[in-house]
Amino acid sequence: MTAPPGAWGRWVALWSTREQGTSLALFRIAIALVSLHTVVDAWHSGVEAWVWTDVSEGGVVRLADGHWLVEQLGGASLQTTWTLMGIAAGGCVSVLLGLGHRIGALVTLQALIAIFSLNPASGGGHDRLITNALWLLVLAPASETLSVGCRLRTGRWTSERPVLAYVRYLGVIQLVVMYSMTGMQKLGSAWFPWGGLSAVYRSLLMPSWARGDWSAVAWVFPLTQVATAVTWAWEVSWPLVLYAMWARRTRTRPGRLRALVNRLDLRTLYVVVGIGMHGTVEIFMNVGPFSIITMAWYLCCYHPDEVHRGWRWVTGAGASRPSPEGGAHG
């Protein structure tokens, strides 16, 4: 498209950017797997009979039945929960396969919102990340490649057909919003020097979060203090990733800061710290699918050309091709 001059024109051009669909497709697959895991794990463990069942049927609370879909299915009951879980699982499979994935994402989204509404106390940040991702997948042309839909349409599993990149950009913005807001709200003194930077130490000893008895952590307290400081600083400074993405997109322009940020690949630095942090949390603490769903969103940080290069590097499938954007990745 030909963008009109001025800030609005550049803004319109940014959101009209097209690229290959690989990153979006991987995001689609990852979100489908995590969503499916959320439903199947609840069913497999039998926990739905505790938290998404009315107290009259052996559940732990009187369920809220105000959601329109719950009403349509006859009100809050174990039968309704199972029906919603079945609908959500079916939708997840559609998203995973990339076959009618937008409808599948919308169906899964509505079913999960209905399930989560039954007993909000049984949810957490992971649920918000799942539903936000599903809404983006409703909007996203995420099954142009790596999908059954692609196979049926082209006879191949992959396609180079360009797709709108804006959903991937919105994914990065969601990560920035989540991390910076969670960092800003870490106001307890345990996160700061005047509270002894003891937040990570204490978190590891909380029975409600810890996977086991980690009393030995007292012997490495200084390490947990460093982890506390790094976590807080890393979270509140996530808006820098937006600048890093912009610097990458405009890397052919001059500027020392831009060059430095690109040379360091600040974005990947944040992603690596995130993987380390969420990986550690996953090993030592029980926070449900929060770590895996968050890391699924990291896929939005990478341009398809970078994903292709990474894949070729992993598989040793020849030298990297030059990017059609001349290396200007956003």
Partner: protein, 213 residues
């Protein structure tokens, strides 16, 4: 035209997401919470940086909070259908406060007049229904009890435990569920003692099993 419309809708989406993610002051505007040592310590630190009395900092922040509360209410109200129907829910207060005390769940069973532990958090020796009680959904539900919140829900939870215990242990007569105080000691104390401090039960509910069979 389509590109412009898309850009407009995306702009609205970003504005909504950012605005809804801004902390709701309700959680913070609780006078009792502001008097707690943690909060007072934070106000003191800020007052020291600004070079003004702690009471002044606290009063100004309270006024600011009230303004923010009104503004957020006015703007967030009309936006509510977006997250409610399309899942764009925000709200990222995670690990905001990490206090030095918590709680652990203990479940005890009475058989032939003798009580024995059935489940104790993080104790592999007493792990009845552990895979369910540790599953994220139930763990999340129970974590409120760890923070001494939603006390009114504890009896309902104990009843749900009792229902299952009545089926699993046909001879058992009573079940007692309790949340027990856990104090997180300073590292030096923990190194010396080797374990966290476990204290008295602060929530407790006992259920007769006979009526449930």
């Amino acid at each position: 035209m389509r590109d412009h419309l898309r850009a407009v809708l995306i702009t609205l989406h970003i504005a909504a997401v950012v605005f809804l993610a801004l902390p709701a002051p309700g959680k913070f505007m609780i006078e009792k919470e502001w008097q707690k040592p943690d909060a007072q310590q934070a106000f003191g630190a800020l007052a020291a940086v600004l070079g003004v009395p702690r009471a002044t900092v606290q009063a100004r922040l309270w006024d600011l909070g009230l303004v923010w509360q009104d503004l957020r209410q006015a703007i967030a109200g009309p936006l509510q259908p977006y997250p409610a129907y399309l899942g764009v829910t925000q709200g990222w207060a995670m690990f905001a406060q990490v206090p030095d005390r918590s709680g652990r769940l203990e479940v005890h069973l009475e058989e032939a007049g003798v009580w024995r532990p059935l489940y104790i958090s993080q104790d592999p020796e007493h792990d009845w229904r552990g895979s369910e009680l540790r599953q994220e959904r139930l763990r999340g539900f129970l974590s409120d009890f760890s923070w001494r919140r939603r006390k009114g829900r504890f009896p309902g939870f104990a009843e749900a435990l009792a229902l299952r215990a009545a089926a699993d242990f046909p001879e058992a007569t009573r079940l007692r569920a309790e949340m027990v105080h856990v104090g997180i000691p300073e590292p030096a104390v923990l190194r010396a003692h080797g374990r966290v401090d476990v204290g008295e039960a602060y929530f407790q509910h006992t259920v007769l099993l006979e009526a449930l069979r």
